[in-house]
């Protein structure tokens, strides 16, 4: 039996203003576990960017966070439109977000690069028309 602790969140795709609730919940849970604040910060930021992406692009999704012995694993899954060109999407400044999203402070093409910046491992699996799964790890 594994000692790993897991948290599951449904990310509501309908409301931009409530985006970030899952990330805030994760941050609180990790604090209660006494995890190093810098690790919590990295996990929270990466997950928050992912959560915003799910709301902006995919109509919501699911987030699963697991605290392993040597790392924290974040898995974000959505059934949105998928990412046609992952290499392009990883470039800073490249975005398919519309102007109304930029007016809200996002959609500058920094989401995925920020997720990579704050995590030690990141893997994107995406099928156009079916959805995207992003797995990230932050090691202790």
């Amino acid at each position: 039996m594994s000692d790993a602790l897991s948290f599951h969140y449904d990310v509501d795709g309908e409301s931009f203003s409530s985006a970030g609730q899952a990330s805030a919940g994760v941050k609180k849970n990790l604090r209660q576990l006494g995890i190093d604040p810098e690790i919590i910060r990295k996990v929270s930021i990466a997950m928050y960017e992912g959560e915003i992406n799910m709301v902006i692009h995919a109509g919501g999704g699911e987030a699963d966070i697991t605290v392993e012995d040597n790392c924290i694993v974040i898995v974000l899954t959505d059934r949105g439109p998928g990412i046609a060109d992952i290499d392009k999407a990883m470039e800073e400044g490249y975005s398919t977000a519309r102007d109304n999203i930029r007016a809200l402070g996002f959609g500058a093409g920094m989401g995925l690069p920020n997720m990579k910046r704050y995590t030690d491992e990141m893997n994107i699996s995406s099928v156009v028309g079916e959805g995207t799964t992003i797995t990230m790890k932050v090691f202790f």
């Binding site: 805030a24 910060r41 915003i52 996002f106 500058a108 920020n114």
Partner: protein
């Protein structure tokens, strides 16, 4: 620089603030939250003209201590509730972004990039 000093320098209105003596080590001025998420560190203050709940969420994720809304922008009651619950001070100033940043910089508050390097 303390939150109290920021308030005085910017002649700002305090919308919520639990502890005005909290020390702020760096600053960032931006309306793009992803830029803030990319670069900010070190007990920072965020200066912004953007008003929505994600400004507070961004500051929360970054462990920021204070947000200053420039150009007389005012946060909504929901935003203030969220900021208070996260222990983030919120100020509002009539000054524009460039002016507000310049005043704080001249007052000795460094940019986040300078502290990182």
């Amino acid at each position: 620089m303390t939150i109290r000093e920021i308030k005085e320098l910017l002649n700002a209105e305090v919308c919520c603030c639990e502890n005005p003596d909290v020390d702020i080590l760096s600053a960032c001025g931006s309306d793009m939250m992803s830029d803030v998420l990319a670069y900010v560190k070190h007990q920072a203050v965020l200066l912004t003209g953007l008003v929505n709940a994600q400004v507070i969420r961004t500051a929360e994720m970054m462990d920021m201590r204070c947000i200053v809304f420039v150009r007389s922008k005012k946060p909504t009651a929901d935003m203030l509730d969220l900021a208070c619950s996260c222990g983030i001070a919120v100020l509002s100033t009539t000054k524009r972004m460039y002016e507000a940043c310049g005043i704080l910089y001249a007052g000795g508050l460094k940019g986040n990039g300078e502290i990182n390097e």
